[in-house]
């Protein structure tokens, strides 16, 4: 055994056999933001055989406060996160086969990548992509580990097809306007805490120690010194369309997806979310205003200045992003605010 992994092999939960199993595995990480860069670093250092990481954004100055693979140089070079992550991960461990995909984690992409993947790590910033991961997980029988954080608050839950409830059992529908790091802020210890939980579960699954995998839903608040773990035995929902008997994998269906369209000749992208429903414009205006965004509105719509772009949000959750023709970029802006 390589000296490199000696301290991990010493740990009885892993051992030589476990290290060889880790070496034989392929992990797909969706997102290379705070959680994604942290998970990717832990798993790269641990010696996972292959890691594929997918992200649609580039490195921005406001990322540096918590996204651990990136430096000031990456911001200056406006590097795509997946590319900047790949560069650093290779310098950390040249044994690991890293594949970086610069793009949106669409159902098509994830279904295409599914073959041969042993585990998916959730590091996305929105529930729509998580629901797609959840359906891909059920359809191709790949475990995945949910993780999310805002402020000093965070949570994690391990989802194993055929064994645990799935995310759609717990939520039943995509929450509209979930808290995001762009609306609630974030401190990096909360990120580290989620990563600690997600990667511990990942190692257990990679060494196939299924007995040790956590069955509870963990949530914590580091500023308020709270920590709870909920038993989930009653959470499985028989009628679940993602994991139940009459499953349809609804989030792999084109109908249930955020639609983005370039509005011809107007340098504007229209966003139509999958979960149409009432957005409280008044509350959102108050919230964004108190965060320092410039907001104007009337009872029918809200207009928010966002750097070079301007977003107009309607009551039904539809939005126009003015100042761009880039569909992926526009969706990214939308999901940063509306989750």
């Amino acid at each position: 055994m390589n000296e490199r992994y000696s301290r991990q092999v010493l740990f009885p939960g892993i051992g030589k056999e476990g290290q060889e199993k880790i070496r034989g595995k392929h992990v797909l990480i969706i997102g290379a933001g705070a959680l994604g860069s942290g998970s990717a670093e832990v798993l790269t250092r641990a010696g996972v055989g292959r890691i594929t990481i997918v992200d649609r954004d580039y490195v921005e100055e406001s990322n540096l406060q918590r996204q651990q693979l990136y430096t000031e140089e990456d911001v200056l070079g406006k590097l795509p996160k997946a590319a900047a992550a790949e560069k650093r991960l290779r310098a950390i461990n040249s044994d690991v086969e890293i594949r970086a995909i610069i793009g949106d984690a669409t159902p098509e992409l994830l279904e295409e990548l599914a073959a041969g993947i042993d585990l998916m790590m959730d590091a996305t910033d929105n529930f729509e992509t998580r629901m797609v991961m959840n359906d891909v997980s059920q359809k191709y029988k790949i475990p995945w580990i949910y993780g999310a954080c805002v402020g000093s608050y965070g949570m994690s839950f391990s989802i194993i097809p055929g064994k645990t409830p799935c995310l759609n059992c717990l939520l039943r529908t995509i929450p509209l306007q979930g808290m995001t790091c762009d609306t609630g802020g974030i401190i990096s210890p909360a990120v580290q805490m989620v990563i600690a939980h997600q990667t511990a579960e990942a190692l257990k699954m990679l060494v196939e120690d299924w007995e040790s995998v956590r069955t509870t839903f963990v949530s914590f608040d580091l500023w308020r010194n709270q920590y709870t773990s909920l038993k989930m035995s009653k959470a499985k929902f028989a009628g679940c369309l993602s994991c139940g008997e009459e499953r349809t994998y609804p989030y792999l269906d084109h109908e249930n997806r955020t639609k983005t369209t370039v509005l011809c000749g107007r340098d504007t992208v229209q966003i139509r979310p999958s979960n149409q429903g009432e957005v409280s414009l008044e509350k959102l205006a108050g919230q964004l205003g108190s965060l320092g965004y410039q907001v104007k509105g009337n009872p029918y719509l809200l207009s928010v200045e966002m750097g070079p772009e301007r977003m107009v949000i309607f009551q039904d959750g539809r939005a126009l992003i003015h100042g761009t023709k880039d569909l992926t970029h526009a969706k990214s802006i939308y999901q940063r605010i509306l989750g």
């Binding site: 997102g31 933001g33 705070a34 959680l35 994604g36 959730d122 590091a123 996305t124 910033d125 929105n126 529930f127 998580r130 993780g147 999310a148 954080c149 805002v150 402020g151 608050y153 965070g154 949570m155 409830p165 717990l170 939520l171 039943r172 529908t173 929450p175 509209l176 306007q177 979930g178 808290m179 995001t180 790091c181 609630g184 974030i186 839903f217 949530s219 608040d221 308020r224 709270q226 709870t228 773990s229 909920l230 038993k231 989930m232 035995s233 009653k234 959470a235 929902f237 409280s280 509350k283 989750g339």
Partner: protein, 77 residues
Amino acid sequence: MNKVLFFAHLRDVVGAEFLSLDAAGKTVAQLKSELCEKYDLPRMETVMTAINEEFSSNDEVIHEGDEVAFIPPVSGG
């Protein structure tokens, strides 16, 4: 009586980590809608509920002495 705990931003809206109130006999959905009205809590339909540290659905009935916790899922990452 029942202890009702609020996590994350719900705690800020309510202004307390927990409330003591009588929810015995009510379903989770009923308690949610009552709290929604009283405190103007956002998006309670997708907030996860635990009774005595165990995940509970919206139609679960709360009993005397049960501890109820509301845990909003977040999407940051």
